[in-house]
Symmetry: C2
Subunit: 145 residues, 2 copies
Amino acid sequence: MGRVNEMNQELIEKLDLEMAMLIRKASSMAVEKRLGNLDRSGYLILHYLSRRSSQGIKALAEEFRLDASTMSRQIAALEGKGYVERLPDPNDGRASLFQITDLGSLEFSKAKEARIHRFHELFESWTEEEGLQFMELIGRLNRAD
Amino acid sequence: MGRVNEMNQELIEKLDLEMAMLIRKASSMAVEKRLGNLDRSGYLILHYLSRRSSQGIKALAEEFRLDASTMSRQIAALEGKGYVERLPDPNDGRASLFQITDLGSLEFSKAKEARIHRFHELFESWTEEEGLQFMELIGRLNRAD
DNA sequence: TTAATATATATGTATTATACATGTATTTAG
DNA sequence: CTAAATACATGTATAATACATATATATTAA
């Protein structure tokens, strides 16, 4: 079985278009469906903070490959809603560490439920095997440069 | 094999996160890499117009599931760059029809080449079969409500 | 130790993509 | 022929983002 690199130009072109469409569709879906008080960024950040110890802006920005200024604003939004809590970084007076609050955990759970529901709809006609394959393939793409 | 609806909650949750990450990654990639003079919308619209006869704002907005005002601005941008041409709709004095220009076709080809190159990188390690599966699955998602 | 430099974060500004509300011209229905 | 609907353009608002810059703190080199 050949590599995609060697393969049919046509398939790559179709992939290109399908990806472009998926991105637009999924982006606007995220906007449409505000899923409680959480946007996509907030959702991802809370998910991350719900599994890790408190993190600073820089670490979060690197984790999500966003500019630190962007992360700073996203965290500020979460802090403003009371979903994360700012703690002084004991090792660095310039920095803060952020941890998810109980309220944040609650909001995250609610958003997750709503999103999961939406996903059940979207993937209604898929078999489990297809879902698994798709997830694996997306995962690979997410971890590629 | 069961439907995703009946399946493991864990898989759906992972899909949810992977999708959220993909969207963010792909969106920012699209911004970073301006691929000539075409953004994602322009690219999709020119692709569409390169295969179809001239279309009005409304039809395009429906095709791409965007608000007509959004499509109006996107087409205006393409028109401003000379990539599409406005023709009066002979059957409706309120409407215009838009067709791709030679310059638009040229720009589209250039953007396509650059994007395809990027895709070859992204999918470098994939087999052809995986690429095909992925495309089919994305296509289904794009066509779901 | 002190001065220069680097770093972590916050904020100002700009861009892009989007939706919704509204206004205008034109078409269609009654 | 008038009333309602439609196609489009434009005003306004929001969200996510990057880059440039400012500030406080930390680190390094002399």
